[in-house]
Homo-oligomer: 223 residues x 2
DNA sequence: CCACAAGGGTTGCGGCAGCATTGCGGAGCT
DNA sequence: AGCTCCGCAATGCTGCCGCAACCCTTGTGG
């Protein structure tokens, strides 16, 4: 469980970080909205705790900004601006809860739990081919929902082919998918991967076959 | 939009009903818990507003009762019992929000909107894997109902893996689950945690195993 | 129909990167 | 002070993967 804390009072942030840590929550802390945007780009947080008065502006402005990037991470606003009207403002901008300072850590935890109980349904991108389901972000492959673990390079070949199934993939494209520009290749390593991959796909009866297009590249077909 | 209001002060209920009506919300009202159960059986509400002190008992007891029937209708508790401790109690019983009386209708509306924004989904408070039951927000792990206490970092690793059991979890994802961006790691600390965790899982015969996916990450399997 | 060449397929081997395990010591908590 | 947690580092091991040798397939020209 990992959250982002956007808060400019250093002492409070420190204390919260420690307190949440005792509850098994890892906290990233920043004081600036600009950094916060960057951090959410790099990490997937379970929730965000947001102060309103910040050195570089009104914290609430962060909410639409985040939502615009397609993230529906739960946000709890923590602030001394605790008039009912201000609470309405925060909630209607897209916050999931609004807690006035000062507060008890226990209540914050309870509200966090309440908010996290309703998990955001992130649609994970998957590639399907035959009976295979490939999740390229998590590097996982399943055949009829049972996991199939492949060596990393074979998995890279597989997803490059599956992504463009029924279409030929250039040999050079495959090489680019598997090796970075520093890794030179001096033999038929790619062919070897293809070969081993084919065998595994048959063993697992994955419902796909890999065909060669002479002098061009490879082609994945569904059966 | 249709909600259920469980409230014994007739005047407040009347006023709320009218106020919500102006926002296009249809309100069913009852003063008794027994009726409430029956009403939720017959109707699908978008949300439930719940008072605590009721003629026939403590309103909070209604929450687990409702959840047990498989309904995850959002619940907002409205009550004069507004001490932090009482708020924690309500939220941890499964309420989605907790609003102390007196309140402004506008704030109630904003909180309603906030709660309704999130797609309803069965609250998965616990992660199950093998004979393990993990409550990541309360930091508890049990094997066949007997508690197992783990060091904090091992518990973080465990829940990150269990949350995505049968799927590979990237090494970087695990690192992100256990360390924040300030804590640098210069060694195989993560591997060490995995190793110790494995031993404990075996000792406790937890019914799960942790597998390595070379160059990618780890994978938890149930036996 | 055969010869030949070139691209592709398969497989064993060896090096080494990545992983498992464990003891140690410092740090933090009670 | 005694405890546990946890990062660190040393050690041994595993299995991925590049390599290369050899075989197979396809296509072309005579």
């Amino acid at each position: 469980m990992r959250i982002l804390l956007i808060e400019d009072e250093r002492e409070l942030a420190e204390a919260l970080s420690v307190a949440l840590g005792k509850h098994g929550i890892v906290t990233d802390h920043t004081m600036h909205l600009a950094d916060a945007v960057e951090l959410t780009r790099q990490n997937l947080y379970d929730a965000i705790l947001l102060d309103r008065r910040l050195p570089d502006g009104e914290g609430l402005s962060f909410i639409p900004e985040l939502r615009r990037t397609g993230k529906d991470t739960p946000i709890i606003v923590l602030t001394a601006l605790n008039e009912p009207r201000q609470r309405v403002e925060g909630l209607d901008l897209g916050a999931d809860d609004y807690l006035g300072k000062p507060f008890l850590v226990e209540e914050l935890m309870a509200r966090l739990r309440a908010v996290l109980r309703r998990p955001p349904s992130l649609a994970e991108l998957k590639i399907m081919a035959g009976r295979l389901v490939i999740d390229p972000l998590h590097l996982s492959v399943t055949v009829d929902a049972t996991p199939l673990d492949l060596p990393r390079r074979e998995l890279l070949v597989l997803s490059a082919l599956a992504r463009r199934k029924e279409k030929t993939v250039l040999r050079s494209t495959l090489e680019a998918a598997v090796y970075n520009y520093e890794e030179e290749i001096q033999s038929n390593a790619l062919d070897a991967h293809i070969s081993r991959l084919r065998k595994r796909l048959i063993d697992a009866s994955a419902g796909v076959t890999i065909h060669n297009i002479r002098g061009v590249g490879y082609l994945m077909k569904e059966e």
